[in-house]
């Protein structure tokens, strides 16, 4: 009964919205039940189980489920220099991979809307990197940026710059890994922005033009505020994806199956460190603690980027 009251309470908009279900009717809940069943089985249960395992000292090769050790894993985690190293790398890669990607996508979308011909063809081209598998991208980039035989170093050599050992340095390796992510996702985001821009009523631009706004001001005062939803969507999505960056740094390690993220852990992300602890050292309890830390960091980062994007509303 309470639920029925709640359903009616925000009312006043009955004319526009479909009627809320009659009280006591179970049918709508049955319709959505399969999702929640599947979610409980494959979403909720693993999370709860991971939380439990993170409070034990379960080794994958041990003789059974581990002993209960309370918050020991988390305490160890806070004093683990490799965790802090991975956290720093994660934040750095997150910034390097998210900001250029979204800004560039926005510029491309606006350019597409303004001037370009053959939009369909270009849109298709933009989406191509997204179709490419992460593994293929990572392998191709590793070859492009290889120290001795890479195309990038070859080009640098042509203009007289010395060869760069891309994977060896912290900044250079971060730039390379971020380049993989940016290459793959910029087009995807640009298309989302572009379709959102196409939905903006043209009158708004006309009015702005009459008021004397140039293209730059139109972009700043019409396009951006009207894209708020798309911005929120892409910002949160890429935040979640980039905080959990895994395949790119794993495959960028030249040695197959090396999980340390470079010879000095210079590009090991939290997700990669989780994998190393769980599936190289087989320390399942500790890896589960890292997993929950990762959930926390992802949630905080997603909320932060949400807050950042929502600030655009205030200029609206």
């Amino acid at each position: 009964m309470a639920s029925a009251d709640k359903a009616r309470s925000p009312g006043g908009s009955d004319a526009r919205r479909p009627r809320p279900p009659r009280a006591g009717s179970l049918v709508p809940y049955l319709y959505i039940a399969p999702f929640f069943l599947v979610f409980a089985l494959f979403g909720l249960f693993p999370m709860v189980a991971t939380a439990y395992v993170s409070l034990t000292d379960w080794s994958l090769l041990g003789t059974g489920p581990g002993r209960w050790i309370g918050a020991d894993n988390y305490e160890r985690l806070l004093h683990d220099p490799y965790m802090w190293n991975a956290a720093r790398n994660t934040v750095s890669l997150f910034v390097l991979a998210t900001v250029p990607q979204l800004v560039l996508a926005l510029v491309i979308a606006q350019l597409l809307d303004w001037a370009l011909r053959a939009r369909t063809l270009i849109s298709l081209g933009l989406l191509l990197p997204y179709f490419t598998s992460v593994a293929a991208v990572a392998i191709v980039f590793s070859v492009l940026f290889s120290r001795d035989f890479g195309l990038v170093n070859h080009l640098l050599d042509l203009v007289g710059a010395g060869p760069v050992d891309w994977p060896a340095g912290r900044l250079t390796s971060h730039l390379t890994v971020a380049a993989m992510v940016n290459w793959r996702w910029t087009g995807f985001n640009a298309l989302i922005y572009f379709s959102a821009i196409r939905l903006i009523p043209r009158e708004l631009y006309e009015t702005a033009a009459i008021d004397g706004a140039g293209r730059w001001r139109q972009f700043w005062h019409v396009t951006l505020p009207m894209l708020r939803l798309a911005l929120v969507f892409t910002a949160v999505l890429s935040t979640i994806g980039n905080i959990q960056l895994f395949t790119e740094p794993l495959l960028f390690s030249a040695t197959q199956g090396n999980t340390t993220g470079g010879s000095g852990r210079q590009f090991q992300t939290l997700a990669l460190y989780l994998y190393e602890e769980g599936f190289r050292s087989f320390d399942f309890g500790y890896a589960s603690a890292i997993a929950w830390l990762l959930v926390l960091v992802t949630a905080v980062a997603a909320l932060l980027s949400l807050a950042l994007v929502l600030r655009i509303r205030s200029e609206d």
């Binding site: 090769l61 220099p81 001795d148 399942f284």
Partner: protein, 431 residues
């Protein structure tokens, strides 16, 4: 040994789990109905990571053992060992027979209870079949459990480029080259001579990690002592080898390449280095990578004379339903007769010294390597190798050192700083 009661309880538990799983998904029912009771035919699964040369042998075995059907499942190297660990942890899902590579065997034998102890099945009487160090590698530290039966070994030699040696003013004939480096000091001294007259763009060896591993492998004690303690920090051999290799790197002897990377592969084709410590399986690899340099490669003995790199074992996880049949098949596949057949099939070097007298093996020469008698060279180095204690973290210690050499070679750390961070890395894994 298992009591029959234990077995039936396990089966009941399995049926219950299957029923629960079926309730939830409906799709798993098919996989819950196997076993000898309902088919009359026993299916044995064998999990491998590459070509073990067994396919012909399965047919023969099935013919001689009616009612047995063998299914081979091949996955990638790292995936194979990771999923084996997962299956051992969850107590189900492992194949009846699982292959384990040398780099992982120390890790798995630290949990001998998860595997069938071959000593309980009378394999102890045949221990002399295998090279002593091969037998020891899969034997638990207390010597009471033998979890793996050796398949192949790598042996170790020193592959070198005759054309590059000639340009650098070094001898090129195989025996003279072997005489250049009775030990590793002489090897690095030869490196100085090579570097002085080296063709442009070439280095003496491929990378520090390869040479270092060959040096450590020969020592009586490596990373672990006889009681299973990690002694990387205190074993003088480890530090001395580190110093010798990093000094050679400092003098420009290293092409700064890491084994099994793209750059390393290209290094063969682009002739970036003149020597490389090579096990027998690498000869096929070099032949593939460096097609243009056929006949320019040759094989000399490795400094110190002995060594091994790679090789595998067959294990039988304790969780299986057909343990007796699996043990029998694993014993058969690793018996001398079959190891010989595998050698003929794909060239994997047997792990049993009796076969090293076989003319098919001792007489093997490779035209690509200037007709080097590789069969004799590799088996000799395997025969001379002394057993060395291995522990659960041998693989990770090796990764830590490889990373350390990479840092020295990339110039991001000095040899001393890199040594300290290697030790820190290993101690971090020890907690």
């Amino acid at each position: 040994m298992k009591s029959p009661g234990n077995g039936s309880r396990r089966r009941a538990g399995r049926n219950f789990r299957c029923a629960v799983a079926a309730l939830f998904t409906g799709a798993l029912i098919a996989s819950c109905t196997s076993g000898p009771d309902d088919g009359g035919e026993t299916e044995l699964t064998i999990g491998l990571f590459g070509d073990f040369g067994y396919r012909e042998l399965y047919a023969q075995y099935e013919k001689e053992h009616p009612g047995i059907r063998i299914v081979e499942r091949v996955t990638a190297f790292d995936d194979h060992h990771t999923s084996l660990a997962t299956h051992l942890a969850t107590g189900r899902g492992a194949n009846d027979i699982e292959a384990v590579e040398t780099g992982y065997i120390g890790r798995f034998k630290s949990e001998p209870g998860k595997f069938v102890n071959f000593l309980d099945h009378g394999v102890g009487a045949q221990r002399d079949w295998w090279l002593p160090w091969k037998w020891d590698q899969s034997l638990s530290t207390d010597g009471k459990s033998q979890i793996g039966l050796g398949t192949d070994v790598g042996g170790l030699a020193m592959c070198y480029r005759t054309d590059m040696f000639e340009k650098a003013g070094l001898p090129t004939e195989r025996d003279e080259v072997s005489a250049l480096w009775p030990d590793w000091n002489a090897y690095f001294a030869t490196g100085d001579r090579y570097t002085a007259g080296a063709p442009a763009g070439t280095r003496f060896f491929d990378g520090g990690a390869t040479v270092f591993n060959a040096m450590i492998g020969q020592a009586r004690t490596g990373y672990y002592d006889d009681d299973g303690n990690l002694v990387v920090k205190t074993n003088p051999v480890v530090r001395q080898s580190w110093d010798a290799v990093t000094q050679a790197i400092g003098k420009g002897q290293s092409a700064r390449l890491t084994p099994l990377t793209n750059d390393w592969n290209n290094g063969f084709a682009e002739s970036r280095f003149a020597t490389i410590p090579c096990p027998s399986w690498m000869t096929a690899f070099i032949q593939d990578q460096a097609k243009s340099s056929a006949g320019k490669w040759d094989v000399a003995t490795v400094p110190g004379g002995s060594g091994n790199w790679g090789g595998s074992f067959l294990t039988v996880p304790e969780q299986g339903d057909h343990i007796d049949e699996a043990v029998e098949l694993a014993r058969w596949l690793t018996a001398p007769e079959q190891q010989k057949a595998v050698f003929k099939e794909n060239g994997n070097l047997p792990s049993q010294p009796a076969l090293y007298k076989d003319p098919a093996i001792t007489g093997l020469v490779k035209p690509f390597f200037n007709d080097a008698p590789v069969g004799r060279i590799f088996t000799e180095s395997a025969l001379k190798l002394q057993p060395q204690p291995q522990g659960p973290k041998s693989g990770e210690v090796m990764v830590a050192f490889t990373n350390g050499f990479n840092r020295v070679e990339a110039g991001t750390e000095s040899p001393d700083a890199a040594w300290n961070s290697v030790i820190a890395d290993i101690e971090h894994g020890e907690r």
